[in-house]
Symmetry: D5
Subunit: 146 residues, 10 copies
């Protein structure tokens, strides 16, 4: 079973059972964004997490096996088109050099890892319109000489 | 004076005076990321903020005028190459559909605004390697029918 | 049922029944452009609108369910080729900077939302050749400092 | 004098005199969007309009001559990056096939001209946030057999 | 039936019957290039022409219906590769600015329509090698101010 | 002197003297499109034509020398943006496979040369709107086996 | 039968019979490169050559018919990736302007035809490593004025 | 002195002295294509060849030094536009897979080197039109296992 | 059997038997990277190696035949997206000109062959985090004059 | 002083003094590839290394300051064209998925860092042709769940 098929089976089971990502997160003890990324085929899960999730969703062991496979990460559109995703791309374009300057002034020459990394989404209720709070937390990796 | 010239004058003055973005932020009462984005020519500043910053940096009024001009936002590389910026692009590519799902499950059909928006960088000290904490806060805009 | 299949079922039923977008608009009480965009899979419909349309077109509840799903928006061609759509792209290319200047002079630094947004098509009869009147109405979103 | 130089001279004079596009429109009797597009080098002006505008802005006859030259229309970015212009591009992408269907159902097989064409921007004040009203008016051109 | 299937059925029937485009043109009273473009799915035919052609080719009414559908025009290759088509693209590249100058000097600021348009192919016999004569005839559309 | 400088000197002299391409064509005995293409730096002229044109325009011999140089042909935009040129590109896109079929049915497997080639522009006056008549005449080159 | 299916049938028969391109070349009296290009669907064969090859390979007449069809030439990759083909692309990139100069100095302003053209591959044995000798022979086509 | 300046100085001296590539080839004892490629900045020359050529062209030692520098090879257009060069690109596109098959059938799995490589241009006079003979000679490099 | 099918059969057998690339390498006496590249369809294997591997994996002779076929090498993404592969691409981008200078200073004008080439992966255990050691070994090919 | 100017000054001084990268490496105690990458503007040097190198090359302190600035890394060509660099790109394309599989089988799901990274070039003398040995050494970064 490949990651695409796995994704469809998980999404169907999730809908059938009426679980939200928060529900599944609570059930297996991992953050919603990471868990969703596994279910979208973009991360691999440890064996026990995969097994636990399949139990919760009443899915075959084959699905759990597909969840543990190391994914080939990729995306279809170099410039994303869906407005929700494009806005994030726009933020990287508009603020990229700014962030580079602010981060490197604080940390020195290096980067923020996208591998040793976590991300969270929160909802901030606001009478003038609710707000999305997105938190990215990545290890700083300094360039080094040799 | 265009935004490019303005940028060079500000960066030179900032270096000459030895100010960090945090110093300037404290001086004019605006967040470092926003302030840096103005100085990179990617946002316009209200008249009084521009004037205040030019005073702090001992720059001409012409620089303040350039800071208040409405910018044409843009970026040179559809796919950024500098590793620090690329990693953010990679995050959008790898986690884009995941974030769309998690956000829309929480908020309904809509997007996170990149206009009614703020962003912060923090340093989390960690003996295993310091971490970069990036916070994005955008208004949720629901799609609406008509 | 995905949005593509939904689209084909709706278009077939609409042709079979001989309804125009104006007819469907009158039947369910929503504007023709928005309604058509839902049927093309580019917007999600509220439950009651979807149900109503399926009733009018004598389509299964499954189609209504597909209509309420949140779409992933996208388009195949970065530069559209069909002449009707290309002309609109050309207008954006030729008049983009002009519109930016005229709008921002009237409203300040900010953008016209494509989310809090509506659009209408009208036919203006004219003996020298009928004219298409296209109206776009979007909320102005000011950039803000933080 | 080429169109780029002409553009800079007009913009400088307009700023110096404190005129808005509406002021200039009232002065020379042409719509603000068209007039701005001429000043951005994207349309040619009739001799008398060019002369009139240069009189109002106290600019040399050479500028008027540049205004009457037939422009080579073009734009730098196949996919625009400035958020205000990108949102219009996004509208074309998201609603292009919808508009094709709605327009051709009303008018038959053909296109809306981008040459025999006019466009207006209006501000609609609204306590929940002002709105931009964009009106495009183009002649319908039917495909014909031969 | 979509345009692709229609195209294959027409081409097969045309080959089976041994008709040339000139034969079909004579039979239905329309020019060969236009008729072929309809059969390639790039133009829509009036009902009576479609019916007539299907009679001549002994094809089902369903094919005629497909011929009357309004096409979505498009092409696979932004830069065509087949040598016959590439040479035409090369002509547009090499002579484009020249033609713009020559046409606009004769007609004023405007374009040659590709919608109100016709095209013909003729063979000019020549002992040094036959020549292809391609004639394009398009309405001149002047830009207008507003 | 390179072709760009040559082009600017010729265009300036042509404007100063008030000659049209037809005037220059009549003066040196070559077709307007070809002559203009030489002046745009896209073809080389025989020595005597170059000399003759420079005499008519009162230009230095250096310009004539530049006119005889073999050009490197090229164009800036793979997909042209100016509407007049784009419409020709669109014709190649929409009608390319149609033309291939019609031409090859008449001539056999081969192409229409863009080298052994000529082109003319004519104005057809018409009360419903003047028309542009574009004629392309290219040698047919058959593919051959070996 | 299309060219793709034709190609697979020929390649299978050729392998089954153990023929090389040289064997087939000798059998039907045409050069190996041209013959292979026909079998790859990139050239059309005269009726008698197609028939002869199908006889040699014991293939159906339908394959011969497909061999005589006029191909639509094309290639998948604007920049080829297979190293053998890329090296040829690299030669065109590195030596293109050099060849233009050397050829045009010898022949005048014009091109080497890729239509009235032949190509051969030879093996030159060499103790330091065998060498590939590739010969391209194309008619020189002079640009002409009109 | 960089390769661009070197190129212009050599081309100017060559024109001034009225030498052809064949003349220079005879003078320094290297093939015309290789020599021209050095002068176009695409290959480096051994010290003595560079010195000899500069003597023949009466150029400074600095030019000879620039000729011996190792070049960074590159080309501006991934898909060349000048017709003479495009035709070679087209040959690679149309015949690439054919050549791969014919060469590898003769030599085994491997490639023809573009480094251990030579190329020649010859003119074949022909009453029906002269022909260009292009010869590429490259070492065969077999893939090897490890 | 094509290379894609071959790849899937080998990967399935390898997983079923629980062999690592090191195990297979030891079994057939070839390096793991080369062996894996053959199984990914990117290199051809000598007959005896293919047969040996199929024996070890208990696969049909047809798989061995597919392993010996000369592959068409290619990759889907000009700019790879999977982070592991992108990092290697980034190394080529960031260090490409540096490596060119260092290599050519040591070896003269020429390149490192990617054909007469081998590659190895080693794991270096390190308490601060294990390290990947990648070794590339390619024959130096000097440019030569002719 | 920006990195481009710094690069030119260093390269000129290095040539003037006749130092190789190995000489400079020995002088300042850092590896040649890293040192060269600093001089190409692709890495920043610690203050003392920069000062030391400028002393060795007799360059101004301003050059040392430029060497310590944090660079914006980038490259001009998404697909490199110089043959030496292209071959490395080709290796990434051809062997990318192979390396991913071999590395991840050895290390688990993760990547090889291009930041915590070093690289060396060695010359292996060989009577059949010298060989380039390229060694890449990067920290393995495991993906982690959260």
């Amino acid at each position: 079973m490949n990651k695409v098929e796995m994704h469809h089976l998980i999404m169907a089971a999730k809908a059938r059972k009426g679980f939200s990502w928060d529900d599944l997160s609570a059930a297996v003890g991992k953050a919603p964004v990471w868990l969703a990324s596994v279910c979208y085929g973009m991360n691999s899960a440890p064996q026990e997490v995969a097994a636990h999730l399949c139990e919760v969703l009443e899915l075959d062991a084959e699905v759990a096996t597909a969840m543990t496979a190391y994914p080939v990460k990729g995306w279809d559109q170099a410039i994303p088109q869906d407005p929700l995703i494009y806005r994030l791309y726009e933020v990287v374009g508009v603020y990229g050099p700014t962030l580079k300057d602010v981060i490197q002034e604080k940390f020195g020459d290096g980067i923020m890892s996208a591998i040793d990394f976590s991300m969270h989404v929160e909802k901030i209720e606001d009478p003038k319109g609710d707000r999305v709070l997105l938190t990215l937390n990545g290890k700083f990796l300094p360039y080094r000489s040799w």
